[in-house]
């Protein structure tokens, strides 16, 4: 059930009516939300609803046991329970996402040393959103162990992991953000509703018009066969993919935040104009914020962060970014993408610490352009199906064949538009929402209808799944 479809629209209208229909009965509201979330998830594959429920029970039970231990007198038991919980989550993720990949690599390694074997590959179907809900479960366990959040009830914990707006592609909403909201009866505000509707419509436009058009008309054909395209095509397709992935993924986040707002819940920011970043470290404060802050809080800091000297800080950055790359999938291209981001962030850290006094800083505009191009280089590895495919793509750019292109005026216009929105005032949408909250409901409804009609007239036929569904 994809967000920008009529099936989801009808599902959401029914959920909205039922949820607000129960009035102030908060427990019933949560039970109905949970059922709605399972219906939403079951629309992909009913079998994985059981996995979701099992995962929620596992995290709820482990957290309850952790909370019962005495921090002072039973530190070993507390650590063992936490280690068990984290290992169980990683086990779920590892089995569904990485089992076949690691076995294939082992097979290749054995073949290299002359021990060729048929590996017992399982060809496992990846449950949609498994990376998101397992990370959410782990952060909950760690937060309970760190006494940052109290243990949640079984209903709240199950709903935290299953809540349909964020279930399949984030944002990774932490227990500390959502559980306190589940404990009280949600209350709407007009500003929240106006911003929610604005985010839904804006997300719909980014996904259904910009991302879909760029994907089908430019990016997919060029990445499918780089050798059949000119260098100019390859460069434009690389820029096109940078805009496509932003418009695709941020659209999902915007719609998720907007849908949750219409149900009375607040989700945190997940994007903040990432292509206006002045460094890779700045980029990660603006791109997929819920994942980057997760990696910072639960991995980088757990590894020691910047404590222990410069060399250790650089090592921790590299480990964090490599594992961040691997989080996206079991492919070498993701590892290289994470490695590239890690190396550049290490260089930035070294430069910040060791830069000779008095040397000038890079002008802001130049820093933005340089950062964007490093990010775009990374996207080539991220998008390519194989490492060889990415190298063929880069070779093609180096061929220097700039004479022709398949890029249409519309594709160029959408790329420029996708970049231009990064340089609008950061609070523009909130400013519009502030004005909209004073508008009569009928006019707001008509305006919403007109904009959706406009988008629907522009959208590409059919809706491709969101890129981040595969993670």
């Amino acid at each position: 059930m994809l967000f920008p479809t009529l099936t989801f629209g009808l599902f959401f209208l029914a959920t909205y009516a039922v949820i607000w229909g129960v009035g102030r009965a908060n427990e019933w509201r949560k039970i109905l939300l949970l059922l709605a979330s399972w219906i939403f998830y079951g629309a992909w594959d009913w079998r994985f609803v059981a996995l979701l429920i099992f995962s929620a029970f596992l995290n709820w039970g482990t957290a309850a046991l952790i909370a019962r231990t005495d921090e002072e007198y039973e530190p070993g038991r507390r650590k063992a329970l936490l280690a068990f919980g984290v290992a169980a989550n990683l086990g779920i993720l590892g089995f569904f996402k990485y089992y076949d990949f690691f076995l294939e690599q082992l097979g290749l390694l054995l073949a290299h040393f002359g021990f060729e074997r048929d590996m017992p590959l399982l060809e496992i179907i990846l449950p949609v959103g498994v990376s998101f809900f397992t990370f959410q479960g782990m952060s909950y366990l760690i937060d309970v162990a760190r006494r940052k959040v109290p243990p949640a009830s079984l209903l709240d914990m199950t709903l935290l992991m299953s809540f349909f707006p964020h279930l399949v592609a984030g944002p990774i909403v932490r227990a500390s953000d959502l559980i306190p909201q589940f404990r009280r009866t949600p209350k709407l505000e007009r500003g929240m509703v106006a911003m929610g509707l604005l985010l839904i419509v804006w997300g719909l436009f980014k996904k259904a018009v910009i991302a879909s058009e760029l994907s089908v008309g430019l990016v997919d054909p060029v990445f499918f066969d780089p050798s059949a395209h000119s260098s100019l095509d390859l460069v434009i397709a690389a820029y096109g993919y940078a805009v496509q992935i932003y418009c695709d993924f941020s659209a999902y986040s915007d719609m998720a935040i907007g849908l949750a707002a219409l149900l009375g819940y607040r989700f945190p920011y997940n994007f903040n104009q990432p292509y206006r970043a002045r460094s890779l470290q700045d980029f990660w404060r603006r791109w997929h914020i819920s994942l980057s802050s997760w990696l910072r809080d639960y991995l980088y800091i757990s590894l020691g962060g910047s404590r222990g000297g410069l060399a250790r800080a650089c090592r921790n950055i590299m480990i964090t970014m490599l594992l961040g790359g691997l989080w996206h999938g079991a492919k070498w291209t993701f590892l290289i993408w994470g490695g590239l981001h890690g190396i550049v962030q290490v260089l930035e850290t070294l430069w910040r610490k060791l830069r000779p006094a008095g040397w000038p800083h890079l002008p802001a505009a130049l820093a933005i352009v340089a950062t964007f191009h490093i990010v775009t280089l990374g996207w080539i590895f991220f998008r390519a199906d194989t490492f060889d495919g990415a190298i063929a793509f880069l070779d093609g750019i180096g061929r220097g064949d700039w004479g022709s292109t398949i890029a249409t005026p519309l594709a160029i216009g959408l790329i420029l538009f996708g970049m231009a929105i990064h340089f609008t005032p950061p609070t523009l949408a909130q400013g519009i929402a502030l004005r909209l909250r004073g508008v009569p409901a009928i006019w707001l409804g008509l305006a919403t209808g007109v904009v959706i009609l406009l988008i629907d007239a522009m959208r590409f036929e059919g809706v491709a799944p969101f890129i981040y569904y595969q993670f």
Binding site: K148, F267, P268, P409, L410, R437, G449, L453, M458
Partner: protein, 103 residues
């Protein structure tokens, strides 16, 4: 025990929101938008219906959405969407000078 809170884009600046009856306001806005799209976007509704898995129920839904699409075309309220779609298609087929024309 502290709780982390990350800012949300739906928390607007400028302090509390004193506008009254937000649920009623939201529900009316959503209902009007739905009604508007039901009236003016029958093509998309029928497009959705024909993609449904074939069952006796979906056959009835398709018959109803087709009839509704024909009605909206007959009374002219499908025209704005059709006009917008045609303009967008023209933009899609536009090419730079020297490029092959779209099929």
């Amino acid at each position: 025990m502290s709780e982390d809170h990350h800012p949300s884009p739906v928390d607007l600046p400028g302090g509390p929101d004193f506008h009254g009856r937000p649920l009623r306001w939201a529900t009316i806005a959503i209902a009007v938008a739905t009604l508007f799209l039901g009236l003016f976007n029958a093509t998309a509704i029928n497009g959705w219906a024909v993609e449904l898995a074939p069952t006796p129920l979906s056959a009835r839904i398709v018959a109803a959405t087709e009839a509704w699409e024909e009605t909206t075309e007959a009374i002219g309220i499908a025209a704005p969407r059709a006009w917008l779609h045609a303009r967008w298609k023209a933009l899609q087929t536009a090419r730079f000078k020297g490029q092959e024309k779209a099929e």
